[in-house]
């Protein structure tokens, strides 16, 4: 079980990287869209965003297959970290502030705790011996 959860964690991390890159690509692509010219919807960043999201979705399915839902699903919050870091370089107008930085740091600590907690499932538990 521990091995499977570990595999799920790696899959979830790579999944969030792809979905975060997808979100950033969409944002880059959206500004190139002119609603009156349909060809502008097919600009490279926007279309690549869908591809990145598709890969992310496939990786998420594999992560779900291998790991517990109570591990994999909250782990996807790691995407907030990637999006914040990517935005820092790509969208200088999207400023970071202390609120956002503390949120990012707390999420990093939390997903680490989540991974740690999943590896110690049988040792510390709230369930009763009869449950």
């Amino acid at each position: 079980m521990g091995y499977h959860n570990q595999k799920a964690i790696w899959l979830a991390i790579i999944c969030t990287l792809f979905t975060s890159i997808g979100q950033v690509l969409w944002k880059l692509g959206l500004v190139r869209i002119d609603a009156h010219q349909w060809l502008t919807w097919f600009n490279l960043p926007f279309v690549s965003g869908f591809a990145a999201y598709g890969i992310g979705a496939a990786l998420m399915l594999l992560a779900f297959k291998h790991g517990e839902l109570s591990l994999v699903y909250p782990f996807i919050a790691a995407s907030y970290v990637w999006v914040s870091l990517l935005s820092l370089y790509l969208f200088p107008s999207d400023f970071m502030n202390w609120w956002k930085w503390s949120g990012v740091i707390i999420i990093i600590i939390s997903v680490s705790l989540l991974g740690y907690g999943s590896s110690r499932k049988s040792e510390v538990t709230f369930t009763t011996p009869h449950g």
């Binding site: 909250p74 907030y80 990012v104 907690g117």
Partner: protein
């Protein structure tokens, strides 16, 4: 003034998303990737994700991220509760701390946005 309709829409979005996640988890366990692609439950799961996104976008048109994000983070609470109830997954102190931390972290990012 907070728009309560927006809050309701986000709440619905998080509940639908959580059910979608549970559906996807059930559809992927013990299946190969090829089997998953032909499993209708997987597509039901993705449909629920899409539906949840529509509610979320509607809410974002009415309210700011600082109001919406704290509620979005509830989806982690719903999904974990469903995992315990329907999948028999076990929690421990670390996982509860992590869940609380993620909710606080997402809320803080929302407040700063």
């Amino acid at each position: 003034m907070v728009k309560y309709l927006a809050l309701l829409l986000v709440l619905i979005a998080t509940l639908i998303g959580a059910v979608g996640a549970l559906t996807l988890k059930k559809a992927t366990s013990n299946h190969t990737f090829r089997e998953m692609l032909f499993n209708s439950k997987v597509w039901v799961g993705f449909f629920l994700y899409g539906l949840s996104t529509i509610f979320y976008i509607l809410a974002l048109r009415m309210e700011q991220l600082s109001v919406v994000y704290p509620l979005v983070s509830l989806s982690y609470l719903w999904t974990t509760s469903l995992s315990i109830k329907f999948l028999g997954e076990k929690m421990n102190v670390w996982k509860y701390l992590a869940l609380g931390g993620i909710i606080v972290g997402v809320t803080l990012i929302g407040v700063g946005s």
